[in-house]
Amino acid sequence: MKPSRFEYVLPRSIEEAVAARVEHADTVVLSGGQSLVPTLNFRLSNPEAVIDLRLVPGLDDVRVEGEWIHVGGRTRQRDLELDDAVHAANPLIRETLHHVAHPVIRNRGTVGGSIAHADPSAELPCLLLCLDGEVVAHGPSGARTIDAQDLFEFILSTTLEPDEILTEVRFPVLPERTGWCFTEFARRHGDFALAGVAATLTLADDGTIAWGQLAACGVTTTPVRLVAVEDALLDDAADPSRFREIAALAADVVTVPDDESCSSAYRRDLLVGLVERALRTSWQRATERATARTSREVTS
């Protein structure tokens, strides 16, 4: 099985890349190729032109600046995973990346490619949504910023326009007094998960839960925020003894029907179990972080 014929475009700037998007009726962007090339090989996609981003400068810069982590769209997943400054700023990112495919795939696969591809089972879109991240897209009329909430539309479909290129992904720095967790269930490590959950949990000064942010992948046509769970965490009475009952509120977001890997009912149960685990782990880490901070303040 081999790709059908296409024109190969190798732009040297983002403007040239956008111009190529406009010029050809049907283009795809080659970033890491780890999702695109399989579809070319099987001729599931037969584009007129393939725009290879590899020579566009600046697309693999990573920097932590104030409250944001800026990640160039073409940054390899593996490079982001190994970046210690990023890990210090938000440890949920490395934990999530460990669940994306295998290291050999992450060596080539890129952060922007995974988000633009928008597989509903993919971990990075779920992470972006959980953290209230954003992306920058360049099009014929310049750059615009899109909130994660407004990005994911349907299976493999985003609100990026066909003539736009995703150039940057921004993840917030993890706030203080906050715990985190990414957990998923896949039949083999590295496979796409049957369901996955990204979570952060922030404590108030008195150690009670201030708020939580949770998103799930693999359960419906896009990554999805677990709003019912988040609302329940805002309740004054929310504490770890109620995590099981709060987690149960996640079940209703599942719309994936019975499929060859599991029934819909199983997936609902799985999601609830993962949410409970994510809450407990986040709680524990938040408590540890809050105590470590307090003891630092006392000693200094």
Binding site: M1, K2, P3, S4, R5, F6, E7, Y8, L30, G33, Q34, V37, P38, L40, N41, F42, V50, D52, R54, R78, A101, H102, P103, V104, I105, N107, R108, R188, H189, G190
Partner: protein, 184 residues
């Protein structure tokens, strides 16, 4: 320097010139943009040690090193490699033809039966041990997880796990010895 123009018999695609380094040798070629690196290595350069199983990234048989990192040659276009350095399984043996520590461990531990998956495993495990010498201390379950990106239809993996551990130990011992010599 190797230089040639590869055209598959059935297409008259326009070609692009690329130059890269394969197994330490400079290579220049004119290739169709839709030519996969796996086919470039096998058909153009005659490096048939790189095997092709699934062509969608799942089996790992086609794994090579690109710029020092393990990667799927079936998910890379040859034109993407202009200016890159590629290493294939043919380059693992020593100059005198002796097996590399990873190759020797696969032979010693029965890490192969039919051998179809072996080049991919050798390249993945070689990269893994370069990055992380502590694999020698990992549990079997951890090693299985670390090599889960490669599939084998024959062995049931026991031999492959054992080979990975043995190679990790050999490499660590060699490194400790080398460090000892330079310090003493």
């Amino acid at each position: 320097m190797t230089s040639s123009t590869y055209r598959s018999p059935v297409n008259d695609d326009p070609t692009l010139d690329i130059s890269l380094v394969v197994n330490g040798r400079p290579v220049e070629a004119s290739v169709s943009p839709r030519l996969l690196l796996s086919d470039f290595l096998r058909h153009h350069l005659g490096l048939t040690g790189t095997h092709v199983g699934c062509e969608h990234g799942v089996c790992g048989a086609c794994t090579v090193h690109i710029d020092g990192r393990a990667a799927r040659s079936c998910l890379t276009l040859a034109v993407q490699l202009d200016g890159a350095t590629v290493r294939t399984v043919e380059d693992l043996e020593g100059p005198d033809g002796s097996l590399s520590p990873v190759q020797a461990a696969f032979r010693d531990c029965h890490g192969l039966q039919c051998g179809f998956c072996t080049p991919g495993f050798l390249m993945s495990v070689t990269a893994l041990l370069d990055e992380d010498p502590d694999v020698a201390d990992a549990s079997d379950a951890e090693i299985r997880e670390r090599i889960a990106g490669n599939l084998c239809r024959c062995t049931g993996y026991q031999g492959i796990v054992a080979a990975t551990r043995q190679a990790a130990e050999t490499l660590r011992d060699a490194k400790e010895q080398a460090d000892g010599t330079t310090q003493g």
